[in-house]
Symmetry: C2
Subunit: 249 residues, 2 copies
């Protein structure tokens, strides 16, 4: 029996839903700097595949994986332009390497946490820790870029990436120093140990007429670590980085 003035249960349900929706809109506006137009895109961006996987493989397009694919591409273009303009005298290899250091999994995860995306991501609670793998938040960040792109256009997505991610949180200078240092750090370490460093390089054609290179760091003719890349330099740098980790330097 409803007392006079008491709201109908169904009305309460909708009001609660509306309240939630308003809170979600507000959260998106806070994170992105813009009030969302099509909220469903943002809900999709924060829906991890573990939530919809229960409904079978055909429901996977209702998770954020597709938006992640799109957002990854948009992010790549925005960061490419940013570096292109910032370093007018640097070559393509430098720009490629630097971009991969900005948009790699670890970096995106860290950025996602910095803007609080972990509080918005929807996971299947039954899967717990397994679903909350280290890349969940970084993937949601890419998906969010995809959602902004579809909802507000390229310019808005670009502005979000530059003003909310890169400029406040990415220290490009220190990234450059780290990048340049792996190979020389390894050589210095070897010299102190009285050992020699050499790189064994092999190239293998990949689909699309591209060559993929593999570089193995040889410490006194013993293999230590291998890196792959689309240029010899990239492969060597990755191999040097891994060698430093493997050697505990």
């Amino acid at each position: 029996m409803l007392k006079p003035g008491q709201p109908l249960p169904l009305f309460g349900f909708f009001r609660r839903l509306l309240g939630q929706d308003r809170a979600f809109r507000q959260a998106i506006a806070t994170v992105t700097g813009r009030t969302p137009d099509n909220v469903r895109l943002y809900h999709l961006a924060f829906t991890h595949s573990s939530v919809v996987r229960q409904q079978g493989d055909t429901a996977r397009h209702q998770s954020n994986e597709r938006l992640e694919f799109l957002g990854d591409a948009v992010l790549g273009a925005v960061v490419a332009e940013y570096l292109f303009r910032k370093f007018p005298y640097e070559q393509e290899g430098f720009l490629t390497e630097l971009r991969s250091r900005i948009v790699n999994r670890e970096s995106l995860n860290a950025l996602a946490l910095k803007i609080g995306l972990d509080k918005l991501v929807q996971l299947d609670p039954a899967q717990g820790r397994a679903a909350r793998s280290r890349s969940v938040n970084g993937n949601a960040l890419e998906a969010l870029v995809g959602a902004i792109y579809l909802d507000q256009g390229y310019k808005a997505a670009r502005k979000f990436v530059l003003a909310r991610l890169i400029k406040p949180f990415v220290d490009v200078k220190s990234l450059i120093e780290t990048t340049a240092n792996f190979k020389s750090k390894l050589i210095e370490w070897a010299q102190r140990q009285g050992k020699t460093i050499r790189y064994d390089l092999t190239g293998q054609p990949r689909s699309g007429g591209v060559m993929e290179f593999s570089a193995t760091v040889m410490l006194d003719d013993e293999p230590v670590a291998t890196g792959m890349g689309l240029s010899k330099k990239q492969a060597e740098q990755l191999a040097a980085e891994r060698a430093l980790t493997a050697l505990g330097v």
Copy 2:
């Protein structure tokens, strides 16, 4: 001695230059559908590194390699959105694979020839055939997308890619059929030969927390071909494609 009415030599030089410039502008407008604003960007897009390499490594930023980096990223974003919208129920792996078939080296080279870019690319004539490698035109096409992006903005670059490249020249349906067919084609062939096909899979962590998979096609327990990719499916598909080539099927 100049006769009356005969133009000054210097004037003729500038007129010729201006005429060339007008012809180049016209060519760009024909190819892109828009009159260029900053013509220098387009000159840069068609300057192969062999032309500036004579001036030493410091001049390499005056070749099209940097624009190629930028254009590659913009192209990736445009094609990602195109496929995202065209295939609303397909998963991320499908979109990734299909995009790589549209923007790979061979496909870009073919597209570049179709819109006549080979007539605009500036190579070092001394290097002749060596410089005119198979990827020169595809690279110039990517650089052109980068030039349009900087000169006219994202929307114009997107329009160019969709209206002048993808829609007239890319047969997405047949690309899908080819993609799907490598593995089944290989199995059918093996069955006709009374042999067995198996894939040996290994995964290796790459920088950025990404896994790279390697799949080797085993024909009656003998390795035939190997493919690598960021998913098992991608690695197997590439391996199957290479196995078909290696077996001459």
